[in-house]
Amino acid sequence: MSDLEHFVRDVSEGALDPAAALDFVSDPGFGGITMFVGKVRDLNHGRRVLGVSYDMFDPLALKVFERAAAEATARFGPRVRVHVSHAKGRLGVGDIAVVVAAGTPHRDEAFRAARAVIEAVKHEAPIWKQEHYEDGDSVWSEGCSLCGGDAGPSHEHDHDHDHDHDHDH
């Protein structure tokens, strides 16, 4: 059985399933299970949000998920099981956009692994959100540039893990 489960689910195929994610990362030898669930929030920068549309470059996004899980295993393993799933399409307020779960023998590694993976998903995966507001306007969220240091263009900001995106969960 693989220790990584990662996928993208179009909204037409149903909602993401946190319970299934917990099942996947569970093991008789794992005493620590953590999970992050990102949901669509109803307010951002003072504007009432009705929903969010997620656009995604699927093949590369899945590779980012896989690499993040592999890095988490290298850092916090060897006994780690990771789940990453992300929704694609239009979601309403309260709908689940992303699920990350980690299972390890003890809690510290589980917390750290899940945190590392969700930060990679947010900062490195080719995923874009467009917020739809109560007044009828829609805006693509600002985000993290993937240009790196050699492209002439530079990062819009550093990648400390405590910065705030437009619609951070």
Binding site: A61, K63, A97, V98, E124, P126, W128, G143, C147, D150
Partner: protein, 85 residues
């Protein structure tokens, strides 16, 4: 070379088809950036050069750097700053 460029995020608003075919004078990613800027400036009234400046190019396998050769199959995606999760 001929590049079929897939558009994502804010770039989709500029071209409803979601992709654009470009003739690139050169074989490096930086040459594609030049070609896209020319196309966008000429064809897309709402184009913002600042968005292109912070956008990366990628194949299905990885992010491409400016000095990288363009993929032989000509399939490239442009990735504006990301905001997943």
């Amino acid at each position: 070379m001929r590049v079929e460029l897939s558009l994502f995020g804010a770039f989709r608003d500029l071209e409803p088809r979601g992709s654009v075919a470009l003739d690139v004078d050169g074989e490096r990613v930086r040459d594609l950036r030049v070609a896209l800027e020319a196309h966008a400036s000429a064809r897309w009234p709402a184009f913002q050069p600042g968005l292109l400046a912070v956008s990366a190019f990628a194949s299905e396998e990885s992010i491409l750097r400016e000095d990288d050769r363009l993929p032989a199959d000509g399939k490239v995606a442009i990735l504006p700053p990301v905001s997943g999760g």
